[in-house]
Subunit: 547 residues, 2 copies
């Protein structure tokens, strides 16, 4: 096996077939200059992943096929492996195949169709694709190569306790005496996923004594952040090449000239989450056609962290902070918010909401006659702020970022059309304790977020002397319960057995279930844990099962 | 074949296993009194359909198994066919099986696992279930019976042009010489679906010369409305028994005593949509634990129709209308809204928004300095109304209904957090032209909706002399384009070839695509067409493919 291979880790935009084609061509040019024999692109690189129901559009499939044809004809004398969609020529069956094509010398010389189609969490591939009946190796420059796509490599029977698929395409390929396994992927980021992926694929390499080249998509597409981090392993499972994470990259794996010593794989949890969020913000803003963002600054930790991330992702000139103090806002909150804006050097506006709040109370005076104040009045304040922020968003053309965290979204400790308003929920998959950890991490070199924000007790400041812990258990406890229930999918009894108070667990789980209706109307949120609210967690609203 | 069979068309609540079990028992009691040999319940009757990710909860599956065990032990000497979930005993494979169990004499004597698992539109069954490798018939009172579940019967090779599945479980069963096909279903309503279902199953009966008993779920579950309409056909495909549509029912099919003449199948389009919406409203309100609803009344057709439907579904005492006139509201609109409230005999409140609008303008005065009025100010008015309605909803504990139609939701001619606010979008799957047709239909005997509402030009009344047709093409044209694009999934060129202006088509499709972000945050809407926005149409937001 003497190939010189380029890993082309690109950031395609979903549906932008012309743009993606240009990007692919430019990477091919680089590959040509670097004299590689074979350049490899990620899964569905031509259309971007996940294309979702765009796949149901005839012209979408046709455009993607034309793009592959163009590439085939124009590509220089070099192998190109590229992800695209084919129509399933067989009837009956699902209409499409998720393919990896090998282009060479003006021809599409080989096609592998993805065999294992994930249909869990955020994945819906059985909605569109047919799994082929057989897997075959191909020959390239006389090397026997096994091409696979993403999930195809995630079903090793010794690695996984519970396997979803009867087939193991990698095993099939090894039976055909391949000398190299290639896997093209669009594998989204979540906490610890880089390490899992690396260990799992390393295990496959060692098990079959085969080198593996793994090329992953990079970039944010709505809620999903693809972290790239493409890599190559030799037949001993040693890391011999590695691409950047969270950025485009082109990396050469030269089997004629392997590095003397193994590269070290490292994943730092907070650094990864940080980079993931920056990429998620940057790509969502860019790919939806915005330049600037705005957000409300309360002086609390959530909006402070969101603002800092936005500035890091987009630059301080592209972020606008809005302070909307109410009669219940403390002087220190307003001070903290201003301090943050100054620290970050961003434009900020102050629009007090007291008059608007009074106006609403007057307007509702008759309707509310004889009824006492309650959460209604808290929500009104939040919705005044939502309305003001959306007005600024509409007038200026800035995208509104919402700033809620996962713990409050879980508990419904947030106001629909109020603080939940926005186009992107930046930290909606970060439990409150992780919000604090990430804020501390980002403050490690410089006090971007005023220290007081990190040390004061969290409060929604929607009534006098309100504190989060009046309504919620302490976040350290709450977040553990949330993790068990949402990410680990444990039941009430199981969580109580972990040592939590039975009434507390019951109350927390009930609140989570009851607030599904709020989450259904939340903006897309950047996924960074193994189970985010949104598309990967599909719960009925009108339902009566509890825990 | 001499069985006396009961079709138990029940309305289960998703996840309410205890409640569903009670309901099932009560239908079994009725069946016992009626001396049937066999009583048949719908697909997943124990847990309600669609259970969605509740299926991923261990205790949910356990509870459903306990319920079946209880039923098995307690059921009288009579066959009971019931839909429930089993764990897949085989590894590897998806964790669950969607089953129909035959209970008799204290035992679960037979289980059929659903073989064809839909994973298109609103269906996600491959997310949870394994398709079994074989289909077997069973014996009951010496009758050879083929049991199937919903999609299992939707794959006849002569009926469908394009088939998704290689297997045909009905064909498999007929090869095993069955004398009766039973199909238990949870098949949701859409326009014309009753007729399609009837014709399709009639075709199967005639083709194999076999009687078929088809038992469907009834009831609204979030966006989906199950229309019931269970029926039985004899071996000539003649309709021999038929249950109500849109309501629970128990109907006997006695093969010892078949009716002399065939029953007529009838489906009236508007009557079906009307009943579907009433059931959808009633069940969503009940199953989420509400009693009363409120909604804004603008004097326009959408809110008038929604209000009338709510009154018909819930009773006039449970509906509260809110008039929120602005400086741009015409006198006639306010008059029409009041007239509607009087016609329907509902409580209504009037809360003018002029002062609030001025308050917002003052608050934003500095931020908007030097900028002219635009859609921002229109959105502010809509969001004031949204905030007032949500305040009333919070204070009174009434569910807020939103009143937007499908045409405006498609075009983004609606305001996020404004008129889009609410817990249930009643008519969000009705194109504007269908809104008019349905309103006319409901007004046929009595003028519930003031005539002027049906005849005046539609307007959002958010600026002086505004008319919908200033911003949108005439609805008759728009709705045809929408139908082609959304329901028929046609591309731009194909729609233009139907005879529409090219620029108009381009503009309409672009608006539909661009407004995906608004729809992502819309409340669940009742599905009545073959393709509704929401869960059954999954489009990326940050994407660049156009038509």
């Amino acid at each position: 096996m003497k190939l010189r291979v380029g890993m082309a880790q690109i950031n395609p935009t979903v549906g932008d077939i012309a743009g993606n084609l240009e990007k692919i061509k430019s990477f091919i040019s680089v590959a040509k200059k670097k004299h590689v024999d074979l350049v490899i692109f990620p899964e569905l690189a031509v259309i971007g992943y996940p294309p979702m129901d765009l796949l149901e559009k005839e012209r979408f499939i046709e455009s993607n096929l034309s793009a592959v044809e163009t590439l085939t004809k124009q590509a220089p004398k070099m192998g190109v492996i590229i992800g695209f969609v084919k129509k399933n020529p067989h009837q009956p069956g699902m209409p499409l195949l998720n393919c990896a094509g090998l282009l060479y010398n003006g021809k599409l010389t080989f096609t592998h169709a993805k065999t294992l189609l994930p249909s869990y969490d955020v994945f819906d591939e059985t909605r569109y694709f047919q799994s082929p009946s057989r897997v075959k190796r191909t020959l390239f420059f006389n090397n026997k190569i096994g091409i696979s796509i993403c999930e195809d490599i995630w079903n090793d029977k010794d690695f996984w306790e519970r396997r979803l698929y009867a087939k193991d395409p990698i095993r099939e390929l090894t039976k055909q005496k391949v000398e190299l396994i290639i896997n093209i992927s669009a594998s989204p980021f979540s906490q610890g996923k880089g390490e899992l992926r690396y260990q799992m694929i390393k295990n496959v390499a060692k098990r079959y004594n085969l080198p593996i080249i793994y090329v992953n998509q990079v970039g944010g597409n709505d809620s999903l952040i693809f972290d790239g981090g493409s890599f190559a392993l030799d037949e001993k499972g040693r890391l011999i090449a590695q691409a950047k994470r969270f950025d485009e990259d082109f990396v050469i794996v030269d089997f004629n000239n392997l590095p003397g010593s193994e590269i070290t794989f490292q994943e730092d949890e907070l650094a990864s989450i940080h980079q993931a969020l920056l990429l998620g913000i940057k790509d969502y803003v860019k790919k939806t056609g915005f330049k600037k963002v705005l957000l409300g600054l309360s002086g609390g930790i959530d909006s402070s962290l969101t603002c800092l991330l936005a500035v890091q992702a987009l630059g301080k000139k592209n972020v606008c902070g809005v302070l909307m103090p109410s009669p219940y806002s403390s002087t220190s909150s307003v001070k903290d918010a201003k301090k943050l804006a100054e620290n970050l050097g961003i434009e900020h506006e102050v629009i007090p909401i007291e008059n608007l709040f009074s106006s609403y109370k007057r307007s509702l005076n008759k309707a509310f006659e004889g009824m006492s104040e309650d959460v209604t009045e808290e929500n009104i304040q939040a919705r005044i702020r939502g309305t003001l922020l959306m007005a600024l968003s509409n007038k200026y053309g800035y995208l509104l970022l919402s700033t809620g965290n996962k713990s409050e979204l879980a508990m419904g400790y947030c106001t629909l059309y109020g603080d939940m308003a926005g186009g992107l929920a930046v930290i909606s998959d970060l439990p409150k304790t992780l919000v604090y950890r990430l804020a501390g991490y980002l403050n490690r070199e410089k006090e971007w977020i005023p220290k007081n924000v990190l040390t004061k007790a969290p409060s929604a400041e929607l009534r006098p002397n309100q504190k989060d812990e009046d309504s919620l258990p302490p976040y350290t406890i709450l977040d553990e319960i949330l993790h068990s229930y949402i990410e680990e999918n444990k039941g009430k009894e199981e969580i109580i057995r972990q040592g939590f108070d039975a009434d507390l667990v019951k109350e927390v789980l009930e609140k989570i279930d009851r607030n599904e209706y709020k989450r259904r109307q939340a903006p897309p949120g950047l996924k960074v844990t193994s189970k985010a609210f949104g598309f990967g967690r599909r719960m009925p609203i009108a339902q009566k099962f509890h825990h």
